[in-house]
């Protein structure tokens, strides 16, 4: 390969004259490739499901993609306990799915998440594709201007994410009912929604913004012992934030898939009692 004459980056004047963009011999491309495949698959699945506008409710289970269901066209018994804030809207003759009113919030939480930023900057934008692998862009301004400066609003997406966690936890508790709405029952669907809510809480509680909010912003922990304790706990979770990010992503998709299959009649929601 000829030496890049662009004169920038690792090919800048004065640096070691080497023609390769990287001399790494390991499979540095594998991790970004897997990230692209998994995230792209999730985006395709979530988009299809958000627009499907059906098979999201099977008493007492509701899909996390449609909860809280806030539109007047939500199927019978599925609307959230706070009622239907939105009406029924049509665009080009198609009814707008209730999912589209709410998915922007959890999407914003994940899009601005410090872990996902690393994941998609590396894998989708290749900035850089891997450590010590030259990126293909001629210019780089980071998160200093629009649109990426909006990443600084992550904390507001975090707060919105917490609200959704509350709704999904209520859904999981509501899953301790049978198909007639009677309490005191438990099914596989209950476990699915409980696991989903748990993973989402772990993902949110391990968030870097959460760590900052509960106490990280202080410089005198000794004056804030409770916040220090909270910060310590969140710091422990924060070590696993990446894991919780992936587990909760799969959790949401699998919980939705389960509800879809039950709602469509493909599988029966088996009850333990």
């Amino acid at each position: 390969m000829a030496i890049d004459t662009s004169g920038n980056g690792v090919f800048s004047e004065g640096r070691a004259k080497l023609s390769a963009r990287t001399l790494r011999t390991d499979k540095w491309w594998l991790q970004p490739l897997i990230t692209v495949i998994v995230l792209f698959s999730f985006i395709v699945y979530a988009t299809l499901r958000a627009f499907e506008n059906g098979k999201y409710f099977a008493q007492p289970l509701i899909s996390p993609f449609y909860s809280p269901c806030l539109a007047s066209n939500c199927v019978k018994d599925s609307p959230s306990f706070i009622g239907t804030i939105f009406g029924t809207y049509h665009i080009f003759g198609m009814t707008v799915s209730p999912s589209l009113f709410i998915l922007i919030f959890p999407l914003a939480f994940r899009m601005t998440c410090y872990y996902y930023r690393k994941a998609y900057y590396r894998s989708f934008w290749m900035s850089p594709p891997a450590c010590a692998v030259a990126e293909p862009h001629a210019k780089y301004t980071g998160e200093t201007r629009a649109p990426l400066i909006i990443q600084n609003g992550h904390r507001y997406a975090f707060y919105a994410g917490l609200v959704f966690n509350v709704f999904l936890t209520i859904d999981a508790i509501g899953a301790f009912r049978n198909e007639k709405g009677q309490w005191g029952h438990m099914s596989i669907g209950t476990l699915v929604l409980l696991a989903n809510a748990t993973f989402l809480w772990l993902y949110s509680m391990s968030c870097h913004t959460c760590r900052h909010t509960v106490g990280g912003r202080h410089r005198n922990f000794s004056k804030h012992p409770i916040r220090y304790k909270l910060w310590t706990w969140v710091s422990i979770l924060n070590h696993k934030h990446q894991n919780f990010a992936w587990i909760s992503l799969f959790g949401v998709a699998l919980a939705d898939l389960y509800v879809r299959q039950v709602s469509g009649g493909s599988i029966r929601n088996l009850y333990f009692f």
């Binding site: 640096r15 011999t25 690393k118 450590c131 010590a132 200093t144 870097h208």
Partner: protein, 253 residues
């Protein structure tokens, strides 16, 4: 047990250079720096390499081994397969002086730009008292040995020479974080200067600095992201801005 190693060592200056093939014996337990010294002693008497402690504590022998920024004294030869050719080059983010030695003075210039700790005016030297829990968070950052592997691998300057003017780099973000988390430092505009003078906003937190740190400092999680959040407190969060207007203070301290 001895083995024969095939190496490619970059030799040259800031004007020109190339990889040169070398074959050399290696003994069990040796590190790459040992091998470089053997090459220097037996085949390339004028090979330039910077080194000092051979214990991973001075940060001198930073270089790139098979494309990865590493300390040569902490890289075991046994980590590489018997038939693997090991490529050794200087750090690729900085200008070459000779062979494996680079000019890292960029970092010293950036160090001078970070404003020093400011002691409280009402405390005489020796009167300062701090609780352990107030200082232990920033003690992690004091482990830095200034090997500049984090600076070298950071794509903001590695891949964009023009950013060197406005970007301090991860090593100095941990310095800024250390000072901003210091319970007694009285300089109150470190957050703003981190963003506006030292280029914190350029970092897109891809964590390469953390990956290459030989001291395992969690640079991104414990310094850069907390600093980014502190910058949001004083610069981008409208509610906290409102709070600072009403209560006349720069964020919560």
């Amino acid at each position: 047990m001895a083995r024969t190693l095939k190496l490619r060592i970059w030799r040259g200056s800031d004007q020109d250079g190339a990889l040169q093939d070398v074959t050399v014996e290696a003994n069990s337990g040796e590190v790459v720096l040992d091998i470089i010294h053997r090459v220097q002693a037996t085949q390339m008497g004028d090979l330039a390499v910077r080194w000092n402690c051979k214990a991973g504590k001075c940060g001198s022998c930073s270089m790139e081994i098979n494309g990865k920024p590493r300390l040569a004294c902490m890289t075991q030869v046994s980590a590489y397969a018997e038939d693997e050719v090991i490529t050794i080059t200087p750090l690729r983010a900085f200008p070459v002086i000779k062979d494996l030695v680079t000019d890292v003075s960029f970092n010293y210039k950036k160090a001078l730009e970070v404003r020093a700790y400011e002691h409280p005016a009402d405390l005489a030297p020796g009167e300062a008292r701090m609780e352990q829990i107030d200082v232990e968070r920033s003690q992690e950052f004091r482990k830095c040995i200034e090997c500049f592997l984090c600076q070298n691998t950071c794509h903001v300057i590695r891949d964009h020479e023009e950013n060197k003017k406005s970007f301090a780099g991860p090593r100095f973000f941990i310095r800024l974080a250390e000072l901003d988390m210091h319970p007694l430092d009285t300089l109150r505009n470190r957050k703003q200067s981190a963003q506006e003078e030292h280029g914190l906003g350029m970092c897109n937190i891809t964590k390469c600095c953390t990956e290459v740190c030989p001291e395992h400092i969690r640079i991104t999680d414990n310094a850069i992201i907390p600093m980014k959040e502190r910058v949001v407190d004083v610069k981008y969060d409208p509610l906290r801005w409102l709070g600072s207007v009403i209560r006349k203070r720069e964020g919560i301290l």
